[in-house]
Amino acid sequence: MDFLPTADQLELQRGVRSLLDARFPLERLAAVAAAEPRQTAGYDETLWQALTETGVFALRTDLELGLAEAALVFEELGRAVVPGPLVGTFLSASRGAGAVTVLETQALPLLVAHLDVADAVLLFDESEVRWATGVVGETVASPLDPLTPLTEVAEVPAGRVIATGGAATRMRLEGAVLTAALQVGLATRLTELAVDYAKTREQFGRPIGSFQAVKHLCADMFVRTELARVAVHAAAVTLDDPTAEGAERAGSGAKLLADEAAVTNGRSAVQVHGGMGFTWEVPVHFLLKRAWVHATEFGTADDHAEDLALLL
């Protein structure tokens, strides 16, 4: 038993981090959010190309790595607040399409993120996964997250069945774990932002991070993130091991703890920033809004808590 990431895994993660630090620093978020047309806001063609070339979406298909490595990479994508249909594209890597987005047909209203830049849509039904192209709908005028444009679809599109039964369950679970990894990345960055601000902002003649009320908010952010992180890693490793039991339980636990970490850390980070936290200029709100979006994807924390209870 050695639950630490291996040297290769850490190197992969570091590689993706330095690529994203260089290509997609947080300062770019505001500009990307303001880009026209709004339906493609957030989609950065050259960044997407770079991620594709690095093999981010083809880790399993081309590089013969597992979901564990994917989780580490998705943490970095979350940490950098990379927009775009990341999870759907990863899950479709073997299908020879470009960007692929997701529609969960049980969740109403029927909303698809990033539809305008996607080549296809993965439709997640209760018991199967289908593949649809040519899906159209009405653009949502004011999406919560300016970097996650949404399209409302009038009715569930038809599509070709690509997975049923266990394979469909597995695909949904993988989607939940990868989304959870994005949330862990967001939670990590939110902790960094809050801690950095708490070290430099001074009031009453000293850094606000020396006040326990602020320090303990930051400590709780860290603790929440680390707990969610190991939950995601455990779920990914369990899914990678065909002999391991408890993948559904681990996946549900990971998603609910990661949702909680990202969303609660988002609120805490706003609080630590004071009035600045309520400005468009400070990037914290982009992270919180993304966390709110992910919290509705591949099952909410409530859904997973109940699913998990029924497995007990």
């Binding site: 020396s210 303990h216 400590a219 680390e226 924390a301």
Partner: protein, 395 residues
């Protein structure tokens, strides 16, 4: 990142399981919770059995009579023991996990030869005399004084919260030997025999109504200089050294136990009636239970991360404070959830109304101490904030 155990680790687990299966049915019934002499006999008898089977001092180096097991084997040992319902380390806690390791790291050959074998055999029970009425979270402000007089230190003062003091043979004692030095620089670590004249041990009733800990008064208590561990005024460092023995296994048994209690809680919830249906029909309750189960699963994963880190580097890294904070609070929430399911049946500390609820009620009271003992939750948050995140200190 690999959660699978190696064939050697599986063999260790298998042998241990076999042994536990043979030996546990031969144990006498557990003594009453407040009968401390009987608890001492029970816990030390178990320690003797572990010793005979080669499991005593599982994490101690073989040079000092331990098993020299790896951190992962230590994890397996605690996990399997808990699953099998084996006795907990109990009154041997301080000797095996604190004083013994301190002597291994800092004691003289003579001190080690004198104390380590009997600790391993269960012949010697230790307690910890660190906290005082004026020195809790701020331990380094302790004031119990030791004045050198020939070949003795003469100790005067007052210790508080000394667990197992009524049944212990020895005490790891922190005293102030230099009142003028900065507070961390005037402390000395001493071995105190609990039958030394001038000691007055007065049991304190805990919220459980029993006396786990005591007050200890010192009135010119003479302790030989040869009982000093480390140099005079170097006791703070000696105390900190013990922490390096912590290998990420601090809450293993309780996390395993919590997972079992979650399952038990589900069983009870399916049985009791609320508002015309089973309590388990309540979706809100199910979600809270599912949430808590996820948290204990994650704490278990975090434990494995800490143990892996200890295997690689010798220390469990950042997971120790994270674990203490989240585990202790989750455990308290579990007991509150138990109370929600049990409703009025939760008003008895023994099983009542045909429900196995006594354990939840008892532990609901007991777990109040978890966020206080061994560094309060507030102190843990300071540690995370300052030592891990690098936030400035208050003063």
């Amino acid at each position: 990142m690999d959660l699978r155990y190696s064939p050697e680790e599986e063999r260790f687990r298998h042998e241990l399981r076999e042994w536990l299966g043979q030996v546990l049915p031969t144990l006498p019934a557990k003594p009453a919770a407040d009968d401390w002499p009987a608890r001492r006999s029970y816990d030390t008898a178990w320690q003797r059995l572990l010793h005979e089977a080669g499991y005593a001092g599982i994490n101690w180096p073989t040079d000092y009579g331990g098993r020299g097991a790896t951190p992962t084997e230590h994890l397996i040992f605690l996990e399997e023991s808990e699953r099998a319902g084996a006795p907990y380390v109990g009154v041997n806690f301080v000797g095996l996990l604190h004083a013994g390791p301190t002597l291994i790291a800092e004691g003289t050959d003579e001190q080690r030869a004198r104390h380590l074998p009997p600790i391993l055999r269960g012949d010697e029970v230790w307690c910890q005399g660190f906290s005082e009425p004026g020195a809790g979270s701020d331990l380094a402000s302790l004031r119990t004084r030791a004045v050198r007089d020939g070949e003795d230190y003469v100790v005067t003062g007052h210790k508080l919260w000394t667990s197992y003091a009524t049944v212990a043979d020895y005490c790891e004692l922190l005293v102030r030997t230099d009142a003028d030095a900065p507070k961390h620089k005037g402390i000395t670590w001493l071995i105190l025999a609990m039958d030394t004249p001038g000691l007055d041990v007065r049991p304190l009733k805990t919220v459980l109504g029993s006396s786990e800990f005591s007050e200890v008064y010192f009135d010119d208590v003479r302790i030989p200089v040869g009982n000093r561990v480390g140099e005079e005024n170097d006791g703070w460092r000696v105390t900190m050294v013990t922490l390096s023995f912590e290998r990420g296994t601090a809450w293993v048994d309780q996390i395993v136990d919590s997972a079992r209690l979650v399952d038990d809680l589900v069983t009870i919830a399916k049985k009791v009636t609320r508002h015309g249906g089973a309590a388990w029909d309540d979706r809100g309750l199910r979600r809270d239970v599912g949430h808590l189960a996820a948290e204990f699963d994650a704490l278990w994963a975090l434990t494995k991360r800490g143990v892996s880190e200890a295997s690689a580097t010798g220390v469990p890294g950042v997971s120790a404070s994270v674990l203490k904070l989240r585990y202790t609070e989750a455990r308290q929430r579990l007991m509150d959830l138990g109370a929600r399911v049990l409703d009025r049946a939760g008003l008895s500390r023994t099983d009542i109304g045909g429900l196995a609820g006594g354990e939840f009620t008892e532990e609901r009271i007991n777990s109040l101490s978890y966020t206080i003992a061994a560094g309060t939750s507030q102190i843990q948050r300071n540690i995370v904030g300052e030592r891990i995140l690098g936030l400035p200190r208050e003063r």
